[in-house]
C-alpha cells in the first residue's frame, strides 16, 4: 500500500516534456478561437535580507493588457508558515504554481516531521518551471526563514534561480532596483529594511505604468511572519462617485401639500387573519 504522499508524487511526475496542450491550443486557433489575453501582473516585487530575516514587498495592481483589472490584488503568496513568495508575470501562473508548491511542501512536511526549508520550495519551483520551458510565465521572489537562517531567492520563468541579498522582479524591477542599489547596506535593522523596501516599491508604483495602488510588505523572522497588507496607501481615492447626501433644509421649500392615504386606499382584514390561524401551505 502506498502512502497518500507517494501516490500524489506518482501521479504528479510524468517523464519528459509534455506539450499536449500546445497542440490543443494550435488546433483551437485554427478553429477560430481568439487567443485570450493572459492577466499579467505588470508588477513591482522586491525582497531584501536584513540582520534577522527577510522583508518582501509588492505593489497591488493587476493589469489585463492596458486596463487595470484589480486595483488591490495580493501578490505575496503563502507557501509555508515560514516561507512566502512574491509573484510577477501571468497572475494565473503565479497563483497556481505557488499554490501547488505550497501543497507539495505541506505533504512533505508531514512526511519529514520538520519545518520546511526555503531551498526545498526553491527546488520544487525551479524544476516545475523548467519542465515547461518558460511557458509558465511566473517570475518569483521567494523568501523565508528556516533552521539555516534567512534566505532570499529569485526564480525566473525558464527555471533559473539566483540567491541574492536583495532582488527585484516585474516591469517595475529596474525602478525598484535603483532604490536598492542606492541605499542597501549589510546587516540592516528591521525598520531600515522595511523603509527601504517600501521606498523601492513606491519607486515602481510611481514610475512604472504596470504597477500602482498600494504597498504590501511581509517580514519573516525567527519569531514568525508579519504580513502587512496595504501598509502604505499612497494613492487614496480622493473623489467619490456617489456625492454626499444633502442636508435637510438646504433647499428652500416653496409649497407643502399633505394627502392622507386613507382616503385613496381601502384596508380590509379577513376573518382568518383576525383569528390568527388560517390555511397554510402543506410543507410535509
Amino acid at each position: 500500500a502506498q502512502t497518500m504522499e507517494e501516490r500524489a508524487m506518482a501521479t504528479e511526475r510524468p517523464h519528459g516534456f509534455d506539450f499536449d496542450l500546445c497542440n490543443r491550443n494550435a488546433w483551437l486557433e485554427k478553429q477560430g478561437l481568439k487567443q485570450l489575453k493572459p492577466w499579467s501582473t505588470g508588477t513591482t516585487i522586491a525582497g531584501v535580507v536584513f540582520k534577522d530575516g527577510v522583508v518582501l514587498g509588492a505593489d497591488t495592481r493587476s493589469t489585463a493588457g492596458e486596463t487595470v483589472a484589480d486595483k488591490n490584488c495580493e501578490k505575496i503568496h503563502y507557501i509555508a508558515p515560514n516561507i512566502y513568495c512574491c509573484g510577477a508575470g501571468t497572475a494565473a501562473d503565479t497563483e497556481n504554481v505557488t499554490g501547488m508548491i505550497s501543497s507539495q511542501l505541506e505533504l512533505h512536511k508531514f512526511r519529514t516531521g520538520r519545518e520546511s526549508r526555503v531551498v526545498t520550495a526553491l527546488t520544487l519551483l525551479k524544476s516545475h518551471l523548467f519542465r515547461y520551458q518558460g511557458y509558465v510565465s511566473a517570475a518569483l521572489v521567494l523568501g523565508g526563514f528556516d533552521c539555516k537562517g534567512p534566505h532570499l531567492f529569485t526564480v525566473f520563468p525558464h527555471g533559473s534561480t539566483d540567491s541574492l541579498p536583495f532582488c527585484t522582479m516585474g516591469s517595475g524591477s529596474l525602478n525598484a532596483m535603483a532604490v536598492y542599489e542606492q541605499s542597501y547596506k549589510e546587516d540592516m535593522t528591521k525598520e531600515e529594511a522595511m523603509e527601504l523596501t517600501k521606498r523601492a516599491i513606491r519607486a515602481g508604483i510611481f514610475n512604472d505604468l504596470g504597477s500602482g495602488s498600494n504597498v504590501d510588505l511581509c517580514v519573516i523572522t525567527a519569531d514568525g511572519v508579519e504580513y502587512m497588507r496595504n501598509m502604505d496607501m499612497p494613492n487614496p481615492r480622493t473623489f467619490t462617485a456617489v456625492p454626499a447626501p444633502f442636508k435637510v433644509g438646504s433647499t428652500t421649500v416653496l409649497k407643502h401639500k399633505v394627502l392622507p392615504l386613507e382616503q385613496s386606499v381601502t384596508i380590509t382584514t379577513t376573518e382568518e387573519e383576525e383569528q390568527g390561524g388560517g390555511e397554510s401551505m402543506d410543507t410535509s
Binding site: L174, N175, M177, A178, V179, E181, Q182, R199, A203, F206, N207
Partner: protein, 217 residues
Amino acid sequence: MPQLSDLIGSFVDDKICYDTGYQAPSQPATHTTQPIVTGSSVLGLKYKGGVILAADTLGSYGSLARFRDIRRITTVGKNILVGASGDYSDFQKIQELLEEVVAEDYCLDDGRTHTAKEIHSYLGRVLYGRRNKMDPLWNTLVIAGVENGNSFLGQVDLLGTQFEDDTLATGFGSHIARPLLRNAYNENLTEEEARKIVLDCMRVLFYRDARTIIKIQ
C-alpha cells in the same frame, strides 16, 4: 552571343565597351534601420539657477566597448548644452547642423543668439522631419540651457517626440535613474547637491547597465 542583360550597365563608344558596374539591386533601398556605434544614457537635472547634464564616455559597437573616450555632450553657443544617446554618427551630423545654426547667429550679428528652447524646437522639427522620411537620426537628445536665470531642460527623440521636464534620463537611465532623480528633485537644489545626486545615479547606472564604463563627462 552578347545578351541585352550583358549590355545593361555598360555603354558603347566607338566600339569600345565601358562597364559602369551597375547591377540591378536585389533588395529595395533602405535607410538607417539600426544604430551602429551607440552611446548609453544621458542624465539631466535642473537646480536653482542652472542645469546639470551627465553622460559616460563610452561608444559601444554592439557589445564591444570600442571607443572609450568620446564626448556625448556638446555646447551650442555660450550657454546651451546638447547631450545625445543612440547612434554616434547621427549625433555628429546633428553637431554639424548646430554649428550651422551658431554660424548663422554670428553672421546675423544682431545681438541675439538662439536660446535653449529654440534649439529644442529646431532639433525637434529636424528629427521629426527625418522620421517622416523613414530615415531617422537614431538619437535621443537632451537639450539644457539657462536664460535670464531660468533653467531649461528638454528632450527630443528619434521619433520626434519633444517634451520638457525638471528631470530627464535617456535610454536605460529612464528606468533606473529617473525614479532616483524624481525623488531627489526640489526647486531649491544647489549646484553641489545636484552634482552629488547625478553622480550617485551614474554610479547606480554603472552597476546595472551593461553598456557603460566608469568614466563620465
